[in-house]
């Protein structure tokens, strides 16, 4: 007996409620934008400069006491939060101390770290700094720039690739789904105020890759079915294609999520934000390749007559498949 995620063959109509789906997406995007406008992103030090110190002590953490101990040092904006994780041992108490960038372009000085260490040692004897990361404002500005360029480049490269392999309508549909995924992911990071740092950019790009993976598989099938069913309306061909690939879509999403969830639960708190972004992205990416990319393809329409050689212009790479 085989494990089946979905029935042997399905014939859902994915476009019957397309207004509802696009509506949901639109609402989520608006909420994301609103949150971004109102409270922005909780940028990590990579992007706004400053210092984070990860402390570890055997005594329980009193955030107020930590704050009071650091008060006399006049470090400016200091935020302290306790970190909880199932992988910690009983007497392992971890806190993250974040300090705003000090005035000049440089990272924090060693003496300041020493001072902070001494100050915290008075409230939590034997406290250890297991990691100290400090980024000067000069570099963080550049990192933002690089990150934005990276995401834009990735989307641009993909647009070109799909354009070469399919038709421009496919490329637009795929890219719309990608932008949708990226916007929603940034949105959720703003809504939940999860720390947004360089690793999240990596996660964003992976989401781009994954979502695309899904979209391309569906589109590949659409292309094939367009050749097979020359007379059927586009909506029907799209529906057939999505239904045919649905089993694969679910299988891949589930195996990927299986892996990611185990990393989320067991992988420790250092990469939890990163893994969260990916889990979110896999779910959103799967959704968007069906409900966003395909719907847009339906809107834009596709040239149907594949027999005439003139129609394959701009599509000369479409025949390299086996």
């Amino acid at each position: 007996m085989r494990l089946k995620l979905i029935p042997e063959s399905t014939s859902f109509d994915f476009f019957k409620r397309w207004k509802l789906w696009l509506g949901i997406s639109a609402v989520m995007i608006i909420v994301g934008f609103a949150s971004f406008a109102l409270q922005g992103l909780n940028y990590g030090i990579d992007f706004r400069g400053g210092t984070t110190i990860r402390t570890e002590s055997t005594t329980a953490i009193d955030v107020g006491a930590y704050r009071d101990a650091l008060q006399p040092l006049e470090l400016g904006d200091v935020s302290i939060s306790e970190v909880f994780d199932p992988t910690f041992e009983e007497d392992q108490h971890v806190a993250m101390v974040r300090i705003q960038a000090q005035d000049d372009g440089e990272a924090i000085s060693g003496e300041q770290i020493e001072e902070i260490n001494r100050a915290l040692d008075t409230v939590a004897p034997g406290i250890k700094f297991v990691s100290v990361e400090s980024v000067g404002p000069k570099v963080s500005g550049e990192l933002v720039q690089t990150a934005v360029i990276a995401v834009a480049l990735a989307i641009g490269a993909v647009l070109i690739y799909i354009w070469l392999r399919f038709e421009w309508q496919f490329a637009l549909g795929a890219v719309a789904a990608l932008v949708h995924d990226v916007v929603l992911t940034i949105g959720v990071f703003s809504e939940l105020q999860i720390k947004f740092d360089l690793a999240i950019i990596a996660a964003l790009l992976t989401i781009v890759g994954y979502s695309l993976n899904d979209t391309v598989v569906v589109f590949d099938r659409v292309r094939e079915n367009l050749r097979r069913y020359k007379k059927k309306p586009l909506a029907e061909v799209l529906n057939i294609s999505i239904n045919e690939t649905l089993s694969r879509t679910m299988m891949t999403s589930v195996t990927t999520l299986l892996a990611l969830v185990s990393l989320y639960v067991l992988g420790g708190d250092v990469i939890r934000g990163f893994v969260f972004a990916m889990i979110w992205g896999v779910i959103i990416g799967t959704y968007s390749s069906i409900f966003v990319a395909s719907t847009i393809l339906l809107w834009l329409g596709v040239k149907r007559d594949w027999t005439k050689p003139t129609n394959t212009t701009g599509n000369q790479f479409a025949n390299i498949d086996a």
Binding site: A107, E133, N213, T255, L263, I271
Partner: protein, 553 residues
């Protein structure tokens, strides 16, 4: 149909076996690491029984390349420093001033009196009392310019001199500034490298980034502050008389002498007098140059006191060697050919141009040529790194087992075939990482876990396709064949697009993010290989043996 040429089969299995062999050392990480370290010690410092024993922990016929662990896993410090190249401009101008003064003095009749005016750093401004003599003044000062030696600025002169009214301005030319920046950063890089090598940590990364930045990553060091302290210390350069030369590190040097190793000849030790003749503090300059025979050499110059001491010593010791000692290592021990008066000399030896350039840099390396500004620093404690490794291991194993079980439940025997491919895939990723000496970071582990999840995608595509073909009434062999060929275009498109993003990540990212891009990119390549070729070979072999009338996927 359903046939694979023998040579293809052999090749596919050969790739798998090679990959697994390359991955093998990582399963015995500590042991192989110790063995490698011991082997390195042996080539550097000679054999001892203990070292041989440790080196023997890992058989030498097996591959011994390991995956490097990134700072976030091993613990250590990371610094990004900017070299303040402008520091050098000011020093150059200050050095030029006496020359300008001496050159203009004889011209007073025409130029009148002149006085240095306050000016921004890196400029000399002169006010001359007789503006009509400006043309002459410019001519004289321009006569002090030197042609630029760098490749890009060839033909240009190193200073620009301009006059406006009664003010004469001298500054470094743009071309010279570029050349000077490059020299300064290279020199700083060389000094930083030396400082860190002295501490002898494992695999430090010291790279130039952009035009004026230096990236320093040192695993296993306590904190970034410690690293900064190491970089800040200055080199000790001394010139000592040589007493003897041998290969015994523990030789009895005699009173007032000491035994120090040679810098580039391993196993050679010099006995030198402990009291130096001259020290590096008295050195004002060292430049790469050539000797009379056109061989690369290094010329150097002492200040007045150094010149006198050096002159006296060389006059008395013609024919005997003296050692140029840098940080307790003998850089070279030339024989004094003649009395060296005037405080400048030349070091000859069997140098290449590169070596002479480096040595000149080292000789000037008393202190950093310009200040360093630390833009970014990260310290990761080894405990945190170990915690991350442990958590990553557990997560990977759980993810792996979850996917294996899921695949077997979903596709039965074919799922098991895919699982074999998946296991091979992980082996191949580690093999490839070890082979290219890539660095594994925490996001890199996430990349592997993601690959585990996504690697089955290609097989899922194929299996689903086989199912469809079976449903369409094709026979088993035909269905398998069609399944593979029809799924291929989707697999390639999907993986190429993901690969594009991995490449962009690699190009744009740094550190941990780059580590993620590497595992993701390699994972895509290996998973396509295992999904398309390995499972196919397995299925074909199974099919040939069983010849099933019907198959269930």
């Amino acid at each position: 149909m359903l046939q694979i040429d023998l040579w293809k089969r052999v090749l596919i299995w050969l790739v798998c076996v090679t990959g697994l062999l390359l991955a093998l050392p990582n399963a015995f990480y500590t042991r192989v690491e110790q063995a490698n370290d011991a082997a390195a010690e042996i080539t550097l410092r000679g054999e001892t029984p203990e070292r041989l024993e440790v080196a023997g922990q890992w058989p030498s016929f097996l591959p011994s390349n390991l995956v490097n662990l990134g700072l976030d896993l091993r613990g250590g410090a990371h610094l990004l420093a900017e070299v303040k190249v402008e520091d050098v401009y000011a020093a150059r101008m200050d050095a030029l001033w006496p020359e300008v003064r001496d050159a203009l003095r004889p011209e007073r009749a025409e130029v009148g009196t002149f006085r240095r005016q306050p000016a921004p750093e890196g400029q000399i401004r002169l006010k001359i009392s007789n503006p009509d003599g400006m043309t002459r003044a410019l001519e004289v000062v321009r006569g002090l310019a030197n042609p630029i030696t760098s490749l890009t600025g060839a033909g240009a002169s190193d200073i620009t001199v301009s006059g406006a009214g009664d003010i004469l301005t001298i500054e470094l030319s743009e071309a010279e500034k570029l050349a000077s920046d490059d020299r300064t950063v290279r020199q700083a890089l060389e000094i930083v490298r030396r400082r860190i090598d002295e501490v002898g940590t494992r695999e430090p990364t010291i790279q130039r980034q952009g035009t004026d930045r230096i990236l320093i990553q040192v695993p296993g060091i306590g904190s970034a502050s410690e690293l900064k302290a190491i970089i800040g210390t200055t080199a000790q350069l001394t010139f000592n008389p040589v007493v003897g030369r041998g290969s015994d590190a523990d030789a009895n040097p005699g009173v007032g002498n000491k035994v120090i190793p040679s810098l580039d000849e391993s196993g050679i030790y010099y006995t030198v007098e402990a009291a130096p003749v001259v020290t590096g503090e008295e050195l004002v300059d060292a430049q790469p140059s050539f000797d009379q025979n056109g061989r690369p050499a290094v010329s150097f110059r002492f200040n007045t006191t150094g010149a006198r001491k050096f002159g006296d010593y060389t006059a008395e010791n013609i024919g005997s060697p003296f050692a140029i000692v840098l940080d307790e290592e003998v850089v070279s021990a030339p024989v004094i050919q003649a009395h060296i008066a005037g405080g400048s000399g030349i070091i000859t030896g069997n140098f290449t141009i590169e070596e002479s350039t480096n040595m000149a840099i080292l000789l000037r390396a008393g202190a950093l040529p310009a200040g360093l500004e630390f833009l970014e620093e990260r310290t990761i404690g080894p405990e945190l790194g170990q915690d991350s490794i442990d958590a990553g291991k557990v997560a990977t194993v759980v993810a792996f087992v979850g996917v294996l079980v899921f695949m077997a439940l979903s596709y039965g025997l074919f799922g098991v075939f895919a699982n074999i491919a998946l296991i091979l895939n992980i082996g191949l990723i580690f093999g490839a990482l070890s082979l290219i000496g890539a660095t594994l970071t925490l996001p890199g582990i996430a990349g592997i876990v993601l690959t585990v999840g996504m690697a089955v995608d290609a097989n899922v595509l194929i299996f689903e396709r086989i199912r469809e073909e079976l449903k369409a009434g094709r026979g088993p062999a035909r269905a398998i064949d069609e399944g593979y060929s029809k799924a291929l275009s989707a697999i390639l498109d999907a993986n190429i697009t993901t690969f594009i993003t991995a490449v962009i990540l690699f190009a744009m990212g740094s550190g941990p993010v780059r580590g993620f891009a590497i595992t993701l990119g390699l994972g895509i390549m290996t998973s396509v290989f295992t999904a398309i070729f390995v499972t196919r070979v397995i299925i074909v072999m199974w099919f040939e043996r069983r010849r099933p009338k019907t198959i269930e996927v």
